[in-house]
Symmetry: C2
Subunit: 186 residues, 2 copies
Amino acid sequence: MLKSNTDKRSRLIEAAVMLTYRHGFGATSLADIAREADVPLGNIYYYFKTKDEIGEAIVERRLERFRAFTQRLSALSPKERLEAFVQMTIESAPELAKSGCPVGTFCSEIHKGGGPLTEKASHLFAGTLDWMEAQFAGLGKGADSRKLAIHLLSALQGMSVLAHTLRDPGLVATEVEGLKEWLRGL
Amino acid sequence: MLKSNTDKRSRLIEAAVMLTYRHGFGATSLADIAREADVPLGNIYYYFKTKDEIGEAIVERRLERFRAFTQRLSALSPKERLEAFVQMTIESAPELAKSGCPVGTFCSEIHKGGGPLTEKASHLFAGTLDWMEAQFAGLGKGADSRKLAIHLLSALQGMSVLAHTLRDPGLVATEVEGLKEWLRGL
DNA sequence: GTCTATAGGCAGATAGAC
DNA sequence: GTCTATCTGCCTATAGAC
């Protein structure tokens, strides 16, 4: 019973993560999520009281994924970790061109609403920035670390917006090459 | 009769531009636009057959504004024009932190839908890129001009996404400073 | 050209049987 | 815990009087 419980809940979140990434949070209906997860519409409300609660679950799932990803980099040096992070964006260039950055597009959309989800969504960027800052600090960048983290994330976000809007995955490789050179020169 | 006609139509577009910028295109209803423009709801359909047609009008209005802006820079040198462009983002830092880049957030949202508006919205970025490319070409950058244009627009978009999501207008000044230095060094 | 009233559909959310 | 049926409200779009 607990198993099927978490199974369904997890399937719902996974479906919500994917559909929201592809079509946006507002454009994804609970019926869409239920169908994708193969769960009856009304049953969603046993797991989530409101649609916004699903939004919170999406944020948490993405945070978990991010933590899992950075943990896999724990054996590397700070500089190698940062390089691995930007390398990841090259590998996901096709998805970036199709739907943009999963974190950036979600945050942008949610922040236009101004509702209670806004604060929760901010954690996604804040968490990424904190991790990047820690890597730059590990590189000996001291007080500049935060600024460098913002600069790096900003560059990746801009690249994603353009690759998405111009539907050009090749743009990712070009911009990332410049970023890697920038990282090496630090 | 023609006057009041264009008046109303123009008021509707202006209201749509503003509300869509603040809350997103999908989250803005025709009723919202009608109320803001002080036009009865049903009367919208005399000017626009569908909501998507309002989206197209939004794109066109923004393109006009962009052309008007670049025309005001015609007396300057190519480098001064680019500097004026990035300077503009500093002046609009408060709005950027509140609602993001008007062009970037609109394009991001529309591109998730995949509808017929998508192509139209692309013109916004394409037009900006073409203009930037022409300035870099005027600087003697030749074949590198397109890449430089993409890099500049990408940096501005990334900055906007972060300023928006972190609600931090101060971030704009910091990033633009780096961009201005980059421009001077070209 | 302008406006009111409303159709028709789909969204989020709930009730209640099982 | 699960699922069907349904409520309520808002959305886009239309009909039709003026």
